[in-house]
Symmetry: C2
Subunit: 137 residues, 2 copies
Amino acid sequence: MDVPLSISEVSELLGITAHTARYYERAGLLTIDRSQSGHRIYDRKTVERLDFLVRMRTSGMGISELSRYVDLVRDGDSTTEERLQIMLAQRERIRTQIRELERALDTTEYKIATYGGAPTTSTTSSAIDHEPEGTSS
Amino acid sequence: MDVPLSISEVSELLGITAHTARYYERAGLLTIDRSQSGHRIYDRKTVERLDFLVRMRTSGMGISELSRYVDLVRDGDSTTEERLQIMLAQRERIRTQIRELERALDTTEYKIATYGGAPTTSTTSSAIDHEPEGTSS
DNA sequence: CCTTGACTTCGAGTGCACTCACAGTCGTAG
DNA sequence: CTACGACTGTGAGTGCACTCGAAGTCAAGG
């Protein structure tokens, strides 16, 4: 269980395209070893790095900020304070997103109940349907 | 408590810019009444519609799909089945996003603990630090 | 009367993150 | 020996959702 993977294998594993994996490398987010023939070889450690990058991206961190973070890691222990700040900001972003998504989920569930629960009851669709809760800030 | 709002008031209330509110209208997602002088007037119902649109957008529904949904609502009761399908798909998207965000949150918390908990312990940063969990599919 | 500020329309511009095209290379299967 | 499929680098293109700019209108204050 430590067989190096090809770019197509690793991209499928992580749910991205091979194009995207190459793009991240071009953007300086990580470097990947090559085989004798020039093909990228992803070992366990490299896969984990890429997985981390994908997680940060899918949770809303931009490429430029991620790039900054990667540079800080390369620069060593003196940069941990700024790295901490980046991760604290990222945590807040994620928490905010989760809160928004849960609100949107409530709204969506309500719509589903309206459409799925009532078998064509009519007297609907006056607006974009009626909303469950008022619009409080 | 049913005073109509201006575009600047409603956009601040909903956390978007006035530009974006106008853009949604231009995209056909909703229509807004005008005052005698031509300014947009948002009443309670209109604010709720816009709030719904914003929630769907922030949870990943694209403008074109949202536009389709709005058209279906306009077309009346015969379209509830397709509207249900759209909302079911939306629910799945949201659930997937929440799952991904929670994974990203775990990763972020781990980094914070590493930087915040360990006061410059050294012997770190061999990769982009060590990951808490293995990369399982 | 004149300025100020918030609004109007509408075409055009921006930023981001991919995503693609193309020409070339490599290793194995037939 | 040659065809195939998966890979390579890199410049250019795409799609989306805003975001801006410019010119104009309007109501109220000094």
